[in-house]
Symmetry: C2
Subunit: 131 residues, 2 copies
């Protein structure tokens, strides 16, 4: 256990439900541990992910986002307009999962699903028309 690892963990734990990029984590940690290097953060996040303490998601952009692994699995709804992220409980997806298995023999993973669309506020501002 190294101070770098503790700080990365603390940073993720400080904002539960927040999806931080490696670079964001690096910046936050750097405030308290100037010497830390970006690649160290990447390596730690990879390690934590491999051990199941952290989950990765690709929220539509080309950047990977990290968050502390939860007990209750969930997926992500990303608003294409404001980029807000809403959590979607895994249970809501179970019907779809069943149907996909029946029709395609495809076993939907426990892994993160990222679904894009329009959040309540943006839909309202838009007159609720197009997505």
């Amino acid at each position: 256990m190294t101070p770098q690892r503790e700080l990365v963990m603390e940073t993720l734990a400080a904002n539960p439900g927040h999806h931080a990029t490696a670079d964001e984590v690096w910046q936050v940690v750097q405030a308290r541990y100037t010497a830390i290097n970006r690649s160290t953060v990447y390596r730690i996040l990879e390690l934590l992910t491999r051990h199941g303490l952290v989950t990765q998601s690709r929220l539509g952009s080309s950047v990977v986002h990290y968050e502390l692994a939860h007990d209750h699995a969930h997926h992500h709804l990303v608003c294409v307009r404001c980029r807000r992220v809403v959590q979607l409980p895994a249970a809501d997806v179970s019907t779809l999962r069943k149907r996909i298995f029946e029709r395609h023999g495809f076993r939907l993973g426990a892994g993160d699903l990222t679904l894009e669309g329009l959040c309540v506020d943006c839909a309202a501002a838009d007159g609720g028309r197009r997505v």
Copy 2:
């Protein structure tokens, strides 16, 4: 209309349902038009996307895949093991879309959903256990 644009279109049209990366398109086109530049292909793909003739998808990796836009909307099931891509008709998602709107006020877009999991074959090879 330029020869480059025609060739990019032809390349995508040659393999309907295939998800090509910009680089793959570039390589194919290059065989018939040596001088074409990668950035030209990127620009053309971006143009075609903006005009709705082509759709982009992020199939889990950090590379963007392109395909000719279809009349019938569909989503993608990507096997995490063999990276095979299965198309999922939009209709299969309609129940989920409805539920998500009722519970979260979130309007799931027509855009591509990419769902990861295990395809039939990989699940079989795996004894159907874990994902």
